[in-house]
Symmetry: C2
Subunit: 250 residues, 2 copies
DNA sequence: TTTCGTTTTTGACGGACCGTCGGAAAACGA
DNA sequence: TCGTTTTCCGACGGTCCGTCAAAAACGAAA
């Protein structure tokens, strides 16, 4: 019993170590530079051992996502505690999403890849289930805030529009904005300004459209966001991905 | 001269053939099932010949995107001609985006992959330039419609909000919604309804929030969209991707 | 029609990577 | 100390990408 848990603890620690290496590698060398052989080489372990933790490369990626998602739930939890009207708390969620995206730049990449390479088919079902679970928790927090808005009388949805639809809208807006920002199009040359600034404004306008009080014309969004960052997320720093890519990308 | 163009014509045709094969393969077997060897096997050409058309696999993907984007511009052009108020024409763009996404399901996948695998670094710069060009044309059409809205007095943007920001918002909303729909999460179990239906409604609410008349409460969106589909896009059919995947995915 | 230089096509090959598997090594228990 | 069980290892088969020297097709001149 005792020896079993010790063993298990060792395994846990090793898994965390492996994920850490993998995360760094994904960030520094890109997806193509993330290889099982390299992970084996950089740790003291062999490939066979690594394959006892992860069924395959795709499974490893999902594991990375689960880890990141856990962190996101934590940020969402914090955001939900913001003292203010529900719309302000939802704005805090927006700040959390933004910070999460900037402080965990590998997540978006992993998410993209998981979606693209039909990775879901190959990953371990148990791991996929935990991913779904943690995803549901993030969403649940958002649903709760929207419902609080209705309860407080700030939010009166049109018939047929449910809180889930509203949340899906905000989610889409953010998801899409980051996706667009990440595919490195020459946004300026196409006529756009700072995509993050635009996203914030657009999120406000969308909530306006949903009739969620107070309307964005009635408060200072920038000041609110600054307060949220200061009060809740002072410790979260946005680490941008390494600018030129230190290692040979391929 | 004549012989040159004949040769060139042959090359063009062959390129189109190769792209067709590649597109089908991407759709049927997924990204991992799309291999240069297989393309060579399915056509009468050898791998070396294929590599005279495309610098590498990533370049092939970008070529696929350029082709698809051209089609999208065509749909956008049609949408822009819809006889109605600017907001209705922008809704027609939305219908076009929807149809494009459904009738060209490989595009989203290619786009995702291009973004993810740092493919931009490896693709031919000339091809990337033409991709950017065709992208700019799509956006230009949208900018034009929004400006028409301002000119018609239907749209009064808040200070600091530009038409580009509005378009980026709509783009994000759609991009994100499709991205979310495509990663095959169990949306129902998470509490969501039909994502497309929700997207349509949310797009309307976003335009409401921007103050674009007529507000969605003042007209019948479903009827409008039906009219748009009937008048402009009767010939466009949404071919969904093969349900179970006919070939061995790996 | 034949010859000969040029262009195009080919597919075998090197290299990289994934995932496996039989056996070595370590841990364990008596 | 020795057998048993668990864990670990890394060489290997297979797949795929991208290259390149040789072969084939082409076309102009003889």
């Amino acid at each position: 019993m005792s020896t079993l848990t010790r063993k298990q603890r060792e395994i846990r620690e090793r898994e965390a170590l492996l994920l850490g290496i993998a995360r760094r590698m994904l960030l520094e060398r890109g997806y193509l530079g993330l290889t099982m052989d390299r992970i084996a080489a950089e740790t003291e372990y062999s490939k066979g051992t690594i394959y006892q933790h992860f069924a395959n490369k795709e499974d490893l990626l999902v594991a990375l996502m689960v880890q990141s998602c856990g962190r996101r739930v934590e940020l969402f939890d914090r955001a939900a505690t913001f003292r203010g009207r529900p719309r302000e708390r939802m704005t805090a969620i927006g700040v959390a999403v933004e910070l999460f995206h900037l402080s965990t730049p590998d997540f978006a990449q992993a998410e993209t890849l998981v979606k693209a390479s039909s990775i879901r088919d190959k990953a371990d079902p148990v791991r996929l289930a935990s991913l779904e679970d943690v995803e549901a928790r993030s969403l649940g927090i958002c649903f709760g805030i929207a419902r609080d808005g209705i309860a407080a009388g700030d939010l009166a949805l049109r018939p047929g529009h449910r809180v889930e639809d509203l949340v899906l809208g905000l989610w889409s807006l953010h998801q899409g904005a980051f996706a667009i920002a990440d595919m490195d199009l020459p946004l300026e040359r196409l006529g756009f300004g700072d995509p993050l600034e635009t996203l914030r404004r657009n999120a406000g306008l969308f909530m306006d459209g949903c009739g969620w009080l107070p309307l964005s014309s009635d408060y200072d969004d920038a000041a609110l966001r600054a307060r949220i960052r200061g009060e809740l997320f002072a410790d979260v720093t946005a680490t941008r991905p390494a600018p030129p890519g230190p290692g040979p990308a391929r």
